[in-house]
Amino acid sequence: MRERSAAERIRDFQEVPLGYTPEQAIEEAKRCIQCKNPKCVGGCPVEIDITGFLKFVAEGDFASAAEKIKETNALPAICGRVCPQEDQCEKECILGVKGEPVAIGSLERFVADWERESSPRPSTRYARSGHPSPSKMERGMNFDDSRKKGVRIAVVGSGPAGLTCAGDLARLGYQVTIFESLHVTGGVLTYGIPEFRLPKAIVNLEVEYVKSLGVEIKTDMLVGNVYTIEELLKEYKAVFIGSGAGLPKFMNIPGENLDGVYSANEYLFRVNMMKAWQFPEYLTPVKIGKRVAVVGGGNVAMDSARVSLRLGAEEVTILYRRTHDEMPARKEEIERAVEEGIVFKILTLPIKYHANNEGWVSEAECIQMELGEPDSSGRRRPVEIPNSNFKIPIDTVIVAIGNSPNPLVPHRTPNLKTEKWGGVIVTAAGLTSIPGVYAGGDIVRGAATVISAMGDGKVAAKAIHSFLGPTK
């Protein structure tokens, strides 16, 4: 796919890839050999009929391709951008054995963008073909509209898990209310992923689409504090908890509470959610300094580093305790970060931050690491090299070493069982320890992917539907 040059893109928050032209999309889709038993579909957490939609793209029938995707995935413009396809559908593609797999992710993105641009209003998007085609799920469940009218379901959180669950339930005829604690919808899609990787206009459109299905969204509503889960169960027949992995991890090293040390959540929240990059038109500030150090090797670390460049930092360094091979970030994101001039200091672990006279962080004291034996994750364990301490001058530190499930709802819901590390315990169907209460996404998995959260939302919607008594 075509991309904007690094020199051009680091000056703004616009997207990096430019997307396919229709001709390019058709050409790429024609590469699909239409396997009888397509492995790619098994690699997709929401089981999109990939060969089906690729066939329509190859024929130039983009509208039908879009409908095909939407049978199982309500948020294709988002998934086409942020799914790790290289570890999912594209990894399974048979063409990948000898050469390049079909660029399924880029094609999904193309189809979603084409649909949006040719019919921008979500409520009319399905009118084109007369009627929304019933999804696989609806057909499989003997969708019965009249019986579900007035049956109310509460969804906690408007991130990818909540939106998907709410959308599927609404399409089954339920009356769904989403409770969102923040003032803007979208969860991590809004506060976490930066504009240049996922434009907020696209998130808004997908949210509008879910609303057009009849879902009500109440913002500024912190479930747990305003209403407990028990209270919700008095008004709603079932509850789905998709409250995400909002709790930032810190390393608990000296100096981590100095001014100038951000959690990635705080940093990205200021920029993405509060639009601090438009300060002072938007009143929330962010202070970035000239030299930024980002601690961590995941997508959030790459996002934080690349945001820093765009905010005018002169030197942005990723500090990572293992090597490039062990970085959990998507290859594509690491490559883009490298192209944009992010410096990677691998095998480097910060152990202490020092302050200047004003109490602001000024140096990161680090220790050199080497790789030892593989650990439980299969990655080689980083081991400290004794007496290898060195200092890096910095103005800002962004700690991007991961997030844990948001403890707020579990804390206020005594019967809700959780793992030691905070994840809500669920069955394969997404049922928690409380009857009628389901959960999915990062509140269950810890920080995982958008698409797995969506998959969980779908599974839970289906389970809620059968819990409430589907027709015989």
Binding site: Y191, L222, F250, P280
Partner: protein, 278 residues
């Protein structure tokens, strides 16, 4: 949503708003706070719920104009709507029968002690309130606290009302007088809370402070509100805002409160320009 029912200037820089928010009023308890976003482009700022009326479905918030966002909030009129209001937040105050409780409020913190004083009194405590401000004109809630407390003591820096001096002077004298104190609660500027804690620590009197760190999401997601208590990092927004004052690292809190002072001025100038242009 969040319509302003009543607006009242308590003094030159402190305003009280009564706002429609039935779901918050219903769940609010003493010690809870709300996040206020007065306009779509404004910051998320924390304000203590000074009072909640469950029947009318309203809450009362009191704030001092200290920067851009509070200035925007103060520009709203009766009938206007606050863009966003989130709450109730934080862990509520632990209200129980302790015996004698001294509740200290400084500056705009006086408004914040009001719900605690009321609740502690009805829980059967002897509640001695000590309030202080720079001068008489900046004192708020004098009448309400006189009614609700067992005893009210006032200090001003310049002596224009009550005793000339600080709330901590009054606290020292109270201790010296032999009054048996079971709990002290102190809410106000950081230096005031710190001095009160120093006084009580010497006499081993349990002291609870309500901290006011910077806040962003206020739901435990960002960590800007982290404070060190007993050597451990806590998120004040979800684990506080009340903590054991003898364990709080006030020096770190003071540093962290300064983090954005310089840029905040720019935001305030921007807002002043906008407001003066009407």
């Amino acid at each position: 949503m969040f319509k302003i029912i009543k607006k009242e200037k308590l003094n030159e820089s402190v305003t009280r708003l009564i706002v429609e928010a039935p779901h918050i009023a219903r769940a609010a308890r003493p010690g809870n706070f709300v996040v206020v976003i007065p306009a779509e482009n404004a910051e998320r700022i924390p304000l203590t719920i000074a009072d909640a009326d469950k029947e009318r479905g309203t809450i009362s918030i009191i704030f001092q104009i200290v920067g851009a966002t509070t200035r925007v909030l103060d520009s709203l009129k009766v009938g206007d709507e606050i863009a966003h209001l989130l709450g109730p937040l934080g862990v509520p105050s632990h209200i129980a029968k302790y015996g004698t409780v001294v509740v200290i409020g400084g500056g705009v913190g006086i408004a914040e002690i009001y719900p605690a004083v009321k609740a502690l009194k009805s829980a059967g405590n002897k509640v001695i309130a000590i309030i202080g401000a720079r001068c008489k004109d900046l004192l708020i809630f004098e009448k309400e606290l006189r009614t609700e407390s067992s005893e009210l003591k006032i200090t001003t820096d310049d002596g224009t009302c009550g005793r000339k001096g600080f709330v901590s002077d009054e606290l020292k004298d109270l201790i010296a007088s032999g009054e048996k104190i079971d709990l002290v609660i102190a809410v106000g500027p950081v230096p005031m809370m710190k001095v009160c804690c120093d006084v009580t620590k010497a006499h081993n009197i349990r002291t609870v402070v309500s901290l006011n760190p910077l806040i962003l999401d206020a739901t435990g997601m960002c960590g800007i509100c982290r404070v060190t208590v007993g050597g451990k990092t806590k998120f004040a927004c979800v684990e506080g805002p009340e903590f054991d004052g003898h364990e709080v690292d006030f020096k770190e809190l003071t540093e962290r409160l300064k983090a954005y002072k310089d840029v905040e001025k720019r935001a305030d100038e921007h807002v002043c320009r906008l407001l003066s242009n009407g």
